[in-house]
């Protein structure tokens, strides 16, 4: 099967065309046009990417299998965990969000739940203390802000 490379080639061709079109929409720089404007280099790149993506469509490599079903779901879960981690870092604070995120990841990768979340909590506390006291860098405390020592 050679679908992957062909589909990716089509996507990259679309990107190349969109990127090139985007470059043609740049306003003329202040002080008038020069021999090389802001759009010249992007034009070159659009041509290079366009040609190489055409090559990928014509001469694709054999596919690597995508992990559908369960493993695929695990991957989606992992990405969601990472996004939630990023989003909750400030509201929940570093220690709580780390305990949850690292714990969930460890658990989903095969650790026993209790051990997983314990790992998350311990690593969160250790890194927090290390950053706050040794490196003098403030990480958000979030819901634990009542612990703040000033």
């Amino acid at each position: 099967m050679t679908f992957n490379d062909r589909i990716f080639g089509v996507l990259m061709l679309v990107l190349a065309v969109a990127y090139g079109w985007g470059a043609s929409q740049f306003p003329e720089p202040f002080g008038g046009a020069e021999s090389i404007g802001p759009e010249t280099f992007p034009y070159l790149l659009a041509v290079v990417l366009g040609l190489s993506s055409l090559y990928m469509m014509v001469r694709p490599d054999p596919d690597n299998a995508w992990p559908w079903s369960r493993t695929g779901l695990e991957l989606v879960v992992a990405v969601v965990v990472l996004l939630l981690y990023a989003g909750l870092l400030q509201p929940l604070g570093f220690i709580v969000s780390t305990a949850l995120a690292v714990g969930t990841l460890c658990w989903r990768m095969g650790a026993a739940p209790l051990k997983a979340y314990a790992t998350g909590l311990v690593s969160g506390v250790v890194v927090f203390l290390l950053f706050s006291f040794a490196l003098d860098l403030s990480l958000p405390l979030g819901v634990l802000s009542f612990l703040e020592v000033s």
């Binding site: 090389i36 190489s52 990405v79 990472l82 790992t119």
Partner: protein
Amino acid sequence: METLGFLIDGFGVALAPHNLMFALMGAFLGTLIGALPGLGPANGVAILIPLAFTLGLAPETALIMLTAVYAGAMYGGRISSILLNIPGDEPAMMTCLDGYPMAQQGKASEALAISAVASFIGSLVATIGLILLAPLLADFALTFGPAEYFALFLLAFATLGGITGKNPMKTVVAAAIGLMISTVGIDSTGVQRYTFGTMELYEGIDFIIAIVGLFAISELLFFIEEKAGGGKEKMAVNKLSLTWRDIRNILPSSFRGGVLGFIAGVLPGAGASLGSFIGYTLEKKVVGNKGYFGKGDPRGVAGPEAGNNGASSGALVPMLTLGVPGSGTTAVLLALLISLNITPGPLMFTQNADIVWGVIAALLIGNFLLLVLNIPLVGIFVKLLSVPPMYLLPIVTMIAFVGIYSISNTVFDLYFMVAFGVAGYIFRKLEIPLVPIILGLLLGPEMEKNLRHAMDISDGDWTILWNSGLAIGLWVFAGLGLILPYIVGPILRRRMRVATGAGSSGSD
């Protein structure tokens, strides 16, 4: 003799107590990174860059620490090759051939010690080569004009896949993607490009976020897919009984491997894998029938290991003198230089002489430190091998989050990093190499700047790009770099496979 003076100054920088301390820390961390499963050298150095910033280190200290990490990771990579028959990275593949049989015969600690000595000699030879060659190359590079630089960057991209690379067209796709990402932001004429009115994009995309995302986050996703969550079985390490004779026996192999590796590292497109492969093949040829290669010959450990480390020091030559890295890890070191506001290239040797020579001296000192660290502490590193990735990788991911968050304290960057991680996973599935993307991100602004300068000089005449003999030569080599893999690549790859295949069947 000018070089010697600079080098002595360099030692003055590198031997300052705090620099020495950070070099030691870097060497230790680096070996750890190399030894731990699922943490390649490029990945490890990338995660440590933001941390080096948050520590508020001086440029030379940060660079010394991360160079030590780089050297250490090369040492650490061999541990899993020898004990588990799992190469930490591609260049370590050849070390498996004789290292693992040695471990099976109950000579694991001898194999580890021999490889440490060989790594040391390989790095030492290559660092001396670096000291001799780098100033010459830097002087030569001063004659480069913008057109030559533009061609040189093309050469760097074209040869990045290496002669053994699979599909050079995918390198081109990757490079184009990287360069495109680098054009996001406000350009030098003040025009906004591809910012879509988003404030966060005005300054462009921070390449450190991209690097950490592409390497660290995609590694996590890969591990989840392979379900490689559990730890590897523990390998017993015997008590070391190494005599001077054993070390004397491997010395010639190590020197040969180091020299070959250095050459492979300096040349564009060869890389460390080829360095260790040639190192091993040459050893087999030189020793001939007297050896028992593939069945645990110490010389078969020493040759490729010295070659591997020689190549990694050799790869620093083009990075420092031309600002053009030849491997993933040197690309990450280049990222560090750029973010420290140091422009790599020939001028660095005159403008930032203290930093360059400090780093070179640190490389020498780092190697001594690593040798001293490695022989007694090997037990600790071996224990770390059995840390299961299911605990390790989430923690590494968390450290990546902390590092990126600490750069600007914005959550936007974290989302960006995750997006890069998912993209990196997809790219790796499609066998699109990640290093050209990163190189594109790093070199994009310089490349465009040189193109503009060249065009300003010629008043819009494109032929200036191939108007000098030097530029034509660079173009030709760039072309060869893309075409040769189609011709030579399959043959070389087959040979490497035959060599490794024969080795593993011999160990059964």
